[in-house]
């Protein structure tokens, strides 16, 4: 293994899986964005390593990377389909409903919901990652949940 600056691996071990889970609703692009963020962090570790919250830097870069990537509708649809197939194999119909509903959210709402519920990040960390106030994050969470309730209700009624 190549020499890795002290602190990087600790940060990676504590952050990678959590962040990847938080952004997983975006499909394959999420993991690539997270990896790219860690690559950039390691390349710039002389600077990133001196920050108060290097993991926060990585989260911000990953989210920005994810939002910048213009994924085609087909690839996104394919990712969603893969997620759907994987879920069907688990025979958990409820998960399918929720998964489909989450995919209907706006990108910002998906990130907020993903980081909060998937990554388990505190509201403050989500806000810092998104460059928003905590109030704005709470608003997005509230709006996302209301939207999900409607979507799930439509699924059940339909």
């Amino acid at each position: 293994m190549r020499d890795v600056p002290e602190g990087f691996e600790v940060m990676y071990r504590g952050e990678y899986a959590r962040l990847a889970r938080g952004l997983a609703s975006f499909g394959d692009g999420a993991e690539e964005a997270v990896q790219e963020a860690f690559v950039k962090a390691l390349v710039r570790w002389a600077h990133v390593g001196t920050l108060d919250d290097p993991a926060g830097w990585v989260r911000r870069v990953a989210v920005r990377q994810l939002l910048n990537v213009r994924r085609s509708r087909s690839s996104e649809a394919a990712a969603t389909a893969r997620l759907g197939r994987a879920t069907i194999e688990s025979a958990d119909v409820r998960r399918i409903d929720v998964s489909n509903a989450v995919s209907e959210l706006s990108p910002q709402q998906r990130i907020v919901v993903g980081l909060r519920y998937g990554g388990g990040y505190p509201i403050g960390d989500v806000a810092a990652t998104m460059g928003l106030s905590e109030g704005a994050v709470k608003y997005h969470l509230h709006a996302a949940r209301e939207r999900l309730r409607i979507l799930l209700s439509e699924d059940r009624d339909g």
Binding site: M1, Q35, V98, Y117, L148
Partner: protein, 386 residues
């Protein structure tokens, strides 16, 4: 999360279930480290290449300057910035010229009166915008990591050349972006009056069979009886345009063909600097300046390119001429050979044009000439007396 909302449970259950296996995490970790390492190494290589290029450039510039009082530098740095060239001559103040040939400013005369040296190299970002100058002394002293880039007055810093990033202009210092370069169609012939007779054919012209000695008769059914008429006929053409050209070969047989013009950069101001009777055609490989006397300038000193700045006051060319001169420019010109540039007494040129004359040893000698298009030239070759 922290309440009993079943939706929260569902979201946590779904989104938190994306488990990343430890094995995958380790594999990903190794991949991340490898990618970062490659990127770091790549940056070091690029930085070293830039340093080498800059030092080599400076060395070249200094060598050329000491020999000819003229220096030309052109380096494409491995950065999103292009280092242009700076020139200095005995006669001219230092002028920064960007790679596209645009002159951005003039350095004031050296108050010491000594021969100018290229202390500055022009730089500009590849995406257009601000141009400026790097100071050679700064390069040598600081290396290329982060160099101040000066404005035309050479005192105002307008940005920095940062290794790995390129030329970063300071906010508010960017002039309006340059318009895209204008191009016109290239036929690919070098011609001479009377006729006009083809001296050399290349590109599209050569592809349809034009050869030296042929006489062009018409373009798009418009009779062509001089070099200037041909230039006028092609003046508004565009790359990709198709023209119909007719010509007579050396046996008098007439030919007609349709030619698709290639692309070339339109000379911005040079034609206005060339006296009447002289035709100029710029090609990717050279410049031709010709009239009814006997000079043809056929290619760049490096044999591959010629750059003409937009002021049109300097042309760097390889010179070929007919020896002995004849009344009709012959196809058997001796390319890239000039035995005695001043002794020939047949050099025809625009006033104030600087020529790079190529001797038999393929050494380039700059000569500043002042003359008229009637073939009378005076000039000074460094180290010689006219």
């Amino acid at each position: 999360m922290d309440n009993d909302d079943p939706l929260d449970d569902a979201l946590t259950d779904l989104l938190g279930s994306h488990r990343v296996a430890i094995a995958d995490e380790d594999r990903t970790y190794r991949r991340v480290v490898e990618r970062a390492h490659r990127r770091i190494v790549g940056r070091r290589v690029a930085r070293a290449a830039l340093a080498t290029a800059v030092v080599a450039t400076i060395a070249t510039a200094a060598a050329v300057t000491s020999a000819h009082h003229t220096a030309e530098v052109q380096v494409r740095a491995p950065l999103p910035a292009t280092i242009g060239r700076a020139k200095a001559t005995r006669e001219c103040p230092i002028t920064g010229v960007a790679p596209n040939g645009k002159t951005y400013g003039t350095v004031p005369d050296d108050p010491t009166g000594r021969a100018k040296t290229p202390d500055y190299i022009a730089v500009k970002p590849q995406n257009g915008g601000t141009a400026g100058y790097l100071n050679k002394a700064d390069m040598l002293r600081q290396g290329p990591q982060s160099l101040p880039v000066y404005a035309c007055d050479l005192t105002t810093v307008v940005g920095h050349l940062v290794s790995g990033i390129g030329f970063v202009p300071l906010p508010g210092t960017s002039p309006p972006p340059e318009p895209p370069p204008v191009t016109r169609g290239l036929l690919g012939v070098q011609i001479a009056d009377p006729g006009p007779v083809v001296i050399q054919a290349s590109g599209p012209a050569a592809r349809v069979g034009l050869t030296p000695g042929d006489v062009i008769v018409s373009i798009n059914n418009t009779t062509i009886n001089s070099a200037s008429a041909l230039s006028a006929a092609l003046a508004h053409s565009r790359p990709g345009d198709k023209i119909r050209i007719s010509w007579n070969d050396t046996r008098g047989q007439e030919h007609t063909a349709t030619v698709q013009l290639a692309a070339q950069h339109a000379p911005a101001a040079v034609p206005t600097q060339i006296p009447p009777g002289v035709s100029v055609e710029h090609e990717a490989t050279g410049v031709v300046i010709r009239d009814q006397t006997h000079l043809t300038i056929v290619a760049g000193c490096d044999g591959s390119s010629v750059r003409v700045d937009e002021t049109g006051t300097e042309v760097r060319v390889r010179v070929a001429y007919a020896d002995p001169p004849t009344s009709l420019c012959p196809p058997q010109l001796l390319p890239a050979t000039l035995h005695s540039p001043l002794g020939a007494r047949r050099i025809v040129d625009a006033t104030g044009v600087t020529l790079l004359l190529v001797d038999q040893d393929d050494r380039c000698t700059p000569i500043r000439v002042n003359g008229r298009c009637d073939g009378i030239v005076s000039g000074v070759v460094p180290g010689r007396q006219p």
